[in-house]
């Protein structure tokens, strides 16, 4: 029997949610983030590709999507930081019979800031599900599933996955999603109709380098206070859009490689973005054996390497698409995990780093949250 440790966060604490190939780990620290406690492993033996924290409407809810190679994928939630989890029986995220599809993996979990009951999850095979009751029940977003492009979407190395969901922070009708390898799609009518948002993004692996769709987008971010500006890490290529994805410009200056997976935006500064460049789509490790996070503070006009506290020798690491994130503390925390089972964190926006954990199973996702008071909690 696996010995599971538990954390007991208090209001104001920071919680790190780390999904790995062998389960989920929860870390807790006080607001200063000086000392971290570890909880877990939760769902031992299950791969956890997606985690999220729902602090809306007074909730203190951790979401995880454990996946068993035998028994399939499920959405699970905990209101007590992993001491108990929601029912692991009947699947709440499931394809309707007429689709002739079966859920392979849950890749993304996201909530709307402007509607505490509304949530989305992105899955493989590429599809979007919506919940209007804070995750109790889910339904397939038919407008995207029935898109005429769907039969020509090709799977990327990780499968045909909808891995990124970006609800507009104030307009409930507008959502962007990213699919590997189909590209970015957007809706302006709440999901009924969708159109591509890939103009300017290269598809290096296709004869037509600028198709309407088919790009292998790895991650897209935007800031809640300036949603028209977006940044995109592509399978080859770094991009910025100033018109909510209508068009994209290449911004891969001063980086050792424009290949990579992970991307995160600063919680308080919409001009500050973090990436972890990887060497080539064959090697997929940090260039020159140096673990460097790159940061722009001027909206991707320039990028600088962040190295203090990160190994700069014999560090052939890989950081996956959801394994880099920020918290919302006044002095922003930045965190990432590696396929070698290490977790690093910074409490000053990336200037200095510290290893928070090692020896974990390969890290698939890292998410951070500041714990609320728990008042007005309702399920």
């Amino acid at each position: 029997m696996v010995d599971v440790q538990h954390i007991s966060p208090r209001a104001g604490d920071v919680v790190l949610m780390v999904g790995t190939t062998k389960g989920a780990f929860l870390f807790r620290a006080a607001a200063t983030r000086g000392r971290w406690e570890r909880g877990g492993p939760h769902f031992p033996g299950h791969a956890v590709h997606a985690m999220a924290y729902d602090g809306r409407a007074g909730r203190r809810r951790v979401w995880a999507a454990p996946e068993s190679s035998h028994w399939g994928s499920l959405m699970r939630s905990s209101d007590d930081f992993g001491r108990s989890w929601s029912d692991g029986g009947e699947a709440t995220v499931r394809f309707p019979e007429d689709t002739e599809k079966s859920l392979q993996r849950i890749w993304a979990i996201a909530g709307r800031d402007d509607d505490p009951q509304r949530m989305y999850c992105g899955v493989e095979p590429a599809a979007l599900f919506e919940s209007r009751d804070a995750g109790t029940t889910w339904s397939l977003v038919r407008g995207l599933f029935d898109h005429p492009h769907r039969p020509r979407w090709e799977p990327g190395g990780g499968g045909l996955c909808l891995h990124t969901v970006l609800p507009h922070p104030t307009d409930p009708m507008r959502i962007h999603v990213a699919i590997s390898s189909a590209g970015v799609y957007r809706t302006e009518d709440g999901g009924a109709t969708w159109r591509t948002a890939n103009r300017g993004v290269r598809a290096e692996f296709l004869p037509d380098k600028h198709p309407e769709f088919g790009q292998c987008v790895h991650k897209v971010v935007r800031h809640r206070e300036r949603p028209s500006v977006m940044f995109l890490q592509n399978h080859w290529g770094l991009y910025r859009s100033d018109d909510e994805g209508e068009s994209w410009s290449d911004v891969a200056h001063d980086v050792p490689s424009d290949f990579g997976f992970a991307m995160a935006i600063h919680p308080h500064d919409p001009e500050t973005v973090y990436i972890v460049p990887l060497e080539s789509d064959e090697f997929r490790c940090t260039p020159e054996g140096r673990l460097r996070v790159y940061r722009t503070r001027d909206g991707a006009r320039s990028w600088e390497p962040l190295t203090r506290g990160l190994p700069q020798k014999d560090a052939f690491e890989t950081v996956l698409r959801d394994a880099l994130c920020t918290d919302r503390q006044p002095r922003a925390g930045v965190y990432f995990g590696t396929r070698s089972g290490k977790v690093f964190g910074s409490t000053d926006g990336g200037n200095r780093w510290r290893q928070l954990a090692e020896g974990l199973p390969p890290v698939l996702c890292v998410r951070a949250a500041v714990v609320g008071s728990g008042r007005k909690a309702r399920r």
Binding site: H70, W71, G72, G89, E90, A91, R94, P96, S102
Partner: protein, 93 residues
């Protein structure tokens, strides 16, 4: 007809903690017996079957000692009193 299912450890919590569940199946195929099992313990269905109604790729069902993958799949016939084992395949990493 009566069919007894033998369940693996990870599925016991979804069957009220039971290792074995006996059902009355209205017809004589594995699919019918499984449908009767889902009626008693509905949470088992999504762990054993995909939404498309197929056995999950790494889940095996045996009637006696024979895997149904080689005896007709879900249409494999059953006799009254049959023992059906649901087992995880040797897989994973």
């Amino acid at each position: 007809m009566r069919v007894t299912f033998v369940l693996p450890g990870p599925l016991h919590p979804l069957a009220g903690g039971r290792e074995e569940v006996t059902v009355d199946a209205p017809a004589a195929r594995v699919a019918d017996a499984l449908a009767a099992l889902w009626t008693v313990h509905p949470a088992l269905r999504d762990r054993v079957m995909t939404e498309e109604g197929r056995l999950r790729p790494h889940v095996n069902v045996f009637v006696g000692r024979d895997s149904v993958r080689y005896t007709g799949g879900l249409d494999t016939p059953l006799r009254d009193g049959a023992e059906v084992a649901i087992l995880p395949a040797i897989s994973g990493g």
